[in-house]
Amino acid sequence: MTRPSFGQRVRRNEDARLLTGRAMFVDDVNLPGMLHVAFVRSMMAHGTLKGIDAAAARQRPGVVAVYTAADLGDYCKPGPVLVNPPPVPGHVFHGCTQLPLAKDKVRYVGEPIAMIVAESRYVAEDALADVIVDIDPIDAVVDLEAALKPGVPLVHPHLESNAAAHVVQRKGDYVAARAKADIVVKRRFLYDRGVAAAIENRAVAVDWDPRAEEMTIWDTTQAPIPIRNGLAKMLGLLESQVRVVAPFVGGGFGPKIMMFYPEELLLPWAAMRLHRPLKWTEDRQENFYATTQERGQVHEAEMALSKDGRILGVRDWFLCDTGAYDPYGLTIPINTQCTLLGPYDIPNYETEFTSVFTNKPIVTPVRGAGRQHGVFVSERLLDIAARELGIDRVEIRKRNLLGPDRFPHNHEIMFQDSAPLVYDSGNYLPTLEQAAEIIGYDKFIREEQPRLRASGKRVGVGICCYVEGTGIGPYEGARVTVEPSGTVRCATGVGTQGQGHFTVLAQIVADALGVGVEDVRVVTGDTREFHWGTGTFASRGAVVAGSACHAAAMSVRGKILDLGSAILGAPADNLELSGGRVKVAGSNDPGIAFGDLAGRANPLRGAVRPGTEPGLESTAYFGPDRGSTASGVHAMIVEVDPETAAVEIKRYLVVHDCGTIINPLLVEGQIHGGVAHGIGNAFFESLVYDDQAQLMNASFMDYLLPTATDVPPIETAHRETPSPFNVLGLKGVGEAGCIPTGAVFAQAVEDALGPGAGVEINEIPMSPNQLFELMHVSGKERA
């Protein structure tokens, strides 16, 4: 069977709706009688909640209800731990999750305290000021290292310290390896991250029909099915009574899969009491406080090497900010531990982390999800080792890459999906060589850099490797149906936040059935259409849902062949599927259109034969034991202004390998967006908290997202090493663009400043101000 659409730059099926303003987003849901919700949120990061006086708010005309924790009764329970820790021996994990509305204590600025329901959003926001909240402040826990010192206030007083978790993973014997090393490089690294900043904020709209006893929830979630299942259980409804729709969602990037946000729990509960539809839409300021974010890690890491630059081992010890609660378990720090190994052969590895509760918003994965931190540590250590050993930066990487004969490669530690970290396939050396070739690495350092330096320009090149664990389980499913009209419908549970599911999944189904991509209608993110699955995360949509779509489509193909064979009187082997028809291969007979066949398969009279099913429809699931590992190399050329420390990115290149490529146009789009996010992370974006954990830059005026003039044109080259873990050979690509960006940025800027500047960048983000200070301090120290 051929796959004619694979590898083609197929234009998207979903675009017409989005380009004309017809696509429905959650905030577009407006129902008759709809009420609007606003939340009273804690203004303090840490304190004892002494009292809430909502009497004046309840009296305000237009206010329908005000709820506090006391009004929720038994419904006011801590939410579930969303991801249980992987079974690493000896691990410690304290799962602390938040209440829908704070009771007794507040733990971060923005924590919801009361819910106001009013006839309009304007009135609901007016009433926020009517609510008097009495909080007895406690010193906020802000700094990761200070948080673990004795005598510091506890975010969760039932615990002995602010440590949320502690995990040690080991491979080989690092201590023995270190004893044999010719050189050990050791540094302290800081890697901070920021908000996901999807341009659409979160929103929830609920319609409870008390007569049909059915609830419809429109939610900007990345995981509509688990939301439905959880809500049904909590609300005492059957799962079939609850429909969750994640319609078009305006960007996800991770935080839209936190379950459950208080707003997701509270609106359905209130709708069942008020018998009116409700809607809440987050505003941008709330998004900075109330939507999860990723933040910092502090690493103390060392790498032991032989004098020829071979890595003998790595030891890493780090702290990881988890915010006020830790519903997402250990996903981020485990990703950090695993991704640090990168594409390299690291025989001995000891990695230990403590995750720490602070009085800041909850940390859950944001695009990259801890992988950046790990890549930064290993790539920086390699750069430093290369410098100290007098080995070229590309050369030291080449000497340590896993060879193509080493797969599948078991790293002997546990990954975030509770399976051992096993790389499925990879071919790293040609990727690095291609990147060095395209960016002109050798020529640049041999000729261009000296020439430009001589003219006073500070130009540098950076080149870094990474891997990305993608496409993890547990599973996704899909149902493919040929309708009597001939339209092929494909329903799957994974919602879309812009990745192109309506096109990529359609390509998979179209190629299996011999129809056009535009003839396949994909339905995602609506539990009425498909209600088995988990969600959109970990760069897994194309891999896991795609594989399920393929399996379902192949099953439908089999049904078409069986029925076609019976009707056409020819063996199935002699039939071909093309143009939406099944026909005898090589025959002039036009055969039968799929729509007609679908009608024949669902007769109004006569019998459906034993052992067959009515219709041309199949459901299939795909559950990989473990994920597939994508990889790549980023390279960039920068120029640093020695006066202002402004960094201009002259070139940015991504050579990546995400296995079989379904649609290179969309893959490039994923990479471009990821790189832009990575550049923001490296240079522009920073969450600034004061010593009482007040966020000082909670607006787009103050928190700088990269704009079109900040992001350079990004060059891409594709390589394809298929994954053996799924039939189509797929690997994910959603996060690849932003994973090594900080590391390559640091290397390139350092290279631009030159060895004489004495600047070593061991911290991201590195804003122009910070870089200026670093250059200044280094200069003074030198003087």
Partner: protein, 162 residues
């Protein structure tokens, strides 16, 4: 609240006369009162540009204007761009060709900003294009394919260019 004010405004060629609260934002008026939900709200403080509309032909941010300010003016929104039968206009079509949108949330603001830009500057070079959209934030695309789309619409790039 003060007394409602009368707004007499033409939106996408249709005249509307409504009594609105003086504090009603233009973005809410368009989205809720008129049901034109194609105009998106991303930040409510005039930075992200998702809510950009054309106000008497010039780009404006509907989230930091009041509906009352629209009295006597003409507004065009994203819903005005395609033909009545849904056929995409050349700029919309170029966005599809170049994969100039992913989640599509910032797209209406991008298109309205660019509609005015290309009217005033039909053959822009790349730096001019980037400058033109530098007030519209996009988190998905990294802007590159948006730039390509504008080049296709301006006829300075082939539709099937990679």
């Amino acid at each position: 609240m003060g007394a409602n004010v009368r707004v007499d405004v033409t939106v996408n060629g249709t005249r509307h006369r409504r009594d609105v609260e003086p504090r009603l934002l233009l973005s809410d008026f368009l989205r809720q009162d008129l049901g034109l939900t194609g105009t998106h709200v991303g930040c409510e403080h005039g930075v992200c540009g998702a809510c950009t509309i054309l106000f008497d032909g010039e780009p404006a941010r509907a989230c930091i204007m009041l509906a009352a300010q629209a009295d006597g003016h003409e507004i065009l929104t994203i819903e005005s761009l395609a033909a009545p039968d849904g056929t995409l206009n050349p700029l919309q079509s170029a966005f599809r060709q170049a994969h100039g949108l992913q989640c599509g949330f910032c797209t209406p603001g991008m298109l309205m900003t660019l509609t005015a830009f290309l009217r005033d500057n039909p053959k822009p070079d790349e730096p001019q294009i980037r400058e033109a959209i530098s007030g519209n934030l996009c988190r998905c695309t990294g802007y590159q394919h948006i730039v390509h789309a504008v080049q296709i619409a301006a006829g300075t790039r082939a539709e099937d260019a990679e």
